[in-house]
Structures are given as C-alpha cells and as structure tokens.
C-alpha cells in the first residue's frame, strides 16, 4: 500500500481520530446538533490540521526541542485564526452561529495530536495528507452523528423541514447527553466491525512471521531521524 493511501486508510478508518484515538470529543458534543455548523467545524478542523501539519513538518528540523510545543500551538492557532477571519469576512452568518467554537478549534486534540505524532516525524506532503485524512475521518463520524441529532431533535436537515407538523422533536437529541450516547454507539459499532474484520482476515490469511498485525496508533509512517 502506498504511504498516501495508508495515511488515508488510517485517518478515515483504522486509526480514526474519534473512535480509535478518541480525540476531538468536546466539539463532537458541542456542534453536532446542527448539520450546517458541523460541516463548517469539519472544514475548519480539516484545514487547520492539514495546513498546521504541513507547516510544522516544514519547520521540524529548525524547531528546538525546548519550545517544540509552543511553536506547534503558535502555528496551529495561526491557521485557526485565519479560519475565523475568513468566516467573519465571507460567511458572517455561520461565524455568528458558531460563535466562540471557531476559536476553540485550537483546543481540538486532533490538531496537536497529529502535529506531535505525525508531522514531527514525516515529510510535509505526507503530513498534509495525514491532516486531510484525519480531518475527514473526524468529519464523517461527526456528520453521521449530526444527521441523527438534527433529524430527530428538530425534524430538519440543514435547516430544511423533513417531518410534518405532527412530529414531536426528541428534546434529548438537541442536548449534549445524546452526543455521548451516539459517540458511544459509534465507538461500539466500529470496534465490533473492526474486530470481526480482523478475525476474518486472520482466518483467511495467516500472519507472516515477524510482521505486526496493526500499525501503531501514532506511527503510520516510519519516523525520520
């Protein structure tokens, strides 16, 4: 498997930031009761992760170890503020709806997680792809949760009415606890599915001696010394 394909496979599925790394849960709880806010949050996180990882990977040989994390936070905040500035200028309605959550993208552990675990040891192009893959991996889980929450909580999708007047909204779906339940269900379903797939793969293709079954959560590509 090519490195790029492997990175995408891991970000989207086998090392998914939500149900394997269990990162970015705060924003999963906060914004998923509205599909349009979720889409913007996903785009913001994907952009900031990809560009942040790319820039940090470019700078990695110059960054002193003592200030490594400070520089990572600085670079990631830079891209988050760029997202905020662009939304304020060109999408004021969405900027108004998301309020402080755009600025809080910096607290999303996926950004720092990928900067530290991947971009610090890989080439810029691959780090950029890793950021995109993890952003999309985070995105599809969030969008699935938002789909269920907005549909049942408001009876709408992207603000458009889906159910008729007789529909009684499920109030719990609007509130944060429903995101806990749905994230837990997603985690459970994904892990069951992965365990079954791995068991099936083991039966059909016995493991070659000296190879590991799964790549490490944080080491999708060999670290550059």
């Amino acid at each position: 498997m090519s490195p790029g394909r492997k990175v995408f496979n891991e970000g989207l599925w086998s090392n998914n930031p939500i149900f394997v790394q269990v990162l970015g849960i705060c924003s999963t709880l906060a914004v998923t009761n509205n599909l349009s806010n979720t889409l913007v949050m996903v785009l913001g996180v994907t952009f900031a992760t990809a560009m942040g990882s790319f820039t940090l990977s470019l700078l990695k040989d110059l960054i002193p170890r003592k200030v490594r994390m400070i520089v990572q936070v600085l670079v990631l905040s830079f891209y988050v503020i760029i997202v905020d500035i662009l939304l304020k200028a060109y999408q004021p309605a969405i900027s108004k709806q998301l309020g402080p959550y755009v600025g809080l993208i910096i607290t999303n552990c996926i950004l720092m997680g990928r900067a530290e675990a991947f971009a610090a040891a890989n080439k810029p192009g691959l780090s950029f792809l890793d950021g995109i893959a993890n952003g999309l991996g985070y995105g599809w889980v969030l969008i699935s949760i938002a789909f269920v929450r907005e549909l049942l909580g408001f009876g709408t999708l992207l603000g458009l009415k889906v159910f008729g007047e007789g529909f009684t909204p499920w109030t719990i779906m609007v509130m944060a606890p429903s995101a806990f339940f749905l994230v837990a269900l997603a985690l459970w379903a994904a892990n069951i599915f992965k365990a079954k797939a791995e068991a099936k793969a083991k039966v059909s293709k016995p493991k070659a001696p000296g190879t590991s079954a799964l790549s490490g959560a944080a080491s999708p590509a060999p670290a550059k010394q």
Binding site: A30, V31, T32, N33, N34, N37, L59, L62, I63, P64, R65, K66, V67, I70, V71, L74, V75, F78, I81, I82, I85, L86, K88, A89, Y90, P92, K96, Q97, L98, G99, P100, Y101, P169, T171, V174, M175
Partner: protein
C-alpha cells in the same frame, strides 16, 4: 556551520522570528479583510433594525437593505453615561435608538447589550413608544452555546416576540414551554430555548431593560 538548536540564543532568536512572522501574517490577513468585516457588521446592524421594525425579512433582497434603512429609519441621539447610571435611567442602557413611521404610526427601537451566559448579548427591540407591545426583536451578537443558547438568534425564537403584549411589570416572560414556540401574542410569554434556561433568563432581563429604555425615550419625545 551546524546550528546548535538547543542553545539558549538559538531558542530565543528562533521563537522571536517565528512569532513575528506569524503575527505579521495574521495582521495582514486582518487588515485585508477589515473593510469586508466592517461592511458585514454594518449590514447586519441595519438589517436587524429593519427586521425589528418589520420592514425587512429574509426574503428582502440584500441590495435593498441600505436603501430601506436610509429612507425609513431615523437614528435618534442617545445619552451615554456610566453603566451604573442605567439602573436609575433605563434609557442610558441603550447604545443606540431608532424611530420609524409604519403606516402612519410611530415606533421606537433600541440597541441594547446585556450579559449572557458566556458573553454579552446585543439585540434590537422595537416597540410602541409606551412599550406596551413589542413590534419585533432581533439578536445581533451573542456568544451563547451553539445549538443550545445560541438558538436565541433563530427565527422561531425571535418571531415569538412579534406583537407580544408586555405585562404590567414591563416584562415578557421567557419560560419553558412546548419548545416549538409560543405564538400567542396576548399572554406576555414566549417559549424558552430547551436546554438553555440560563440563556433564556438573560434574554428575559435584556428584553425588560430594552422595554424600559423604549418607554423612557418614548416619554421624552
């Protein structure tokens, strides 16, 4: 020459250069988009005033907003004073006041800012000069929880205030109801946002202050 990355001099110089470079880029991005951001803020403010006066809604073309505002809305002078003075003079709580004649009847609107759960809430409230009935209510800026308190800016919430009668205490109650919106304009009551009772309480206080400001300004003109 090989760089000694862990020397204190390198760390200080590198950190300084990186900080300056990224802050500079942010400043440029901010300056480049500033006129657009200001234009957006102006548009949002004028649209909110027109919407509160029921002179515009989401179907009004964007290009007509400025023309409508200039022809229909009159900006009134407001007194400014220390925040604590607003406790005795409600009109001092308003940061701007507007009037508009609609079908021959005069209405007043105020722009008011009051604390919310996470930050200040700024809204426009229009009512008759005696503040006995609300004409319209629009939330201009808020920092409430997206999807919960943040829903005070949605049309279903603000529409509830349309034509709402103000009770004898000068208030409109924002309380838990069906969650679908209370459209009865005679009961001086609107539905709170489900799951955001604190934000709803703050809105109730803001509306009461805005009504008091309208009443005082209305009594003085």
């Amino acid at each position: 020459m090989k760089l000694k990355k862990d020397s204190i001099g390198y760390v200080v110089v590198f950190t300084f250069i990186v900080c300056v470079a990224f802050v500079l880029l942010l400043s440029v991005a901010n300056q480049v988009t500033l006129p657009q951001v200001k234009a957006n803020q102006n548009y949002a403010s004028h649209y909110a005033v027109l919407a509160a006066f029921r002179l515009a809604d989401s179907s009004t073309p964007k290009s007509e907003i400025e023309e409508l505002y200039a022809s229909k809305v009159k900006e009134l002078p407001v007194e400014t004073s220390a925040a604590d003075a607003a406790a005795t003079r409600p009109a001092l709580a308003a940061s701007a006041a507007y009037s508009a004649d609609i079908d021959g009847v005069s209405f007043l609107a105020v722009r008011i800012t009051n604390p919310g759960l996470w930050g200040p809430i700024t809204a426009i409230l229009a009512a008759d000069p005696a503040a006995e009935r609300i004409l319209g209510f629009e939330v201009l800026e808020q920092q409430e929880t997206p999807g919960l308190g943040g829903r005070i800016g949605e049309a279903w919430f603000t529409e509830q205030f349309r034509g709402e009668k103000v009770n004898s205490d000068g208030r409109v109650i924002v309380a838990q109801g069906t969650g679908k919106g209370d459209l009865n304009p005679e009961n001086s009551r609107v539905d709170a946002v489900t799951g955001a009772s604190r934000t709803s309480d703050f809105v109730q206080i803001l509306v009461a202050k805005a009504l008091a400001a309208v009443k005082e300004i209305g009594g003085s003109i």
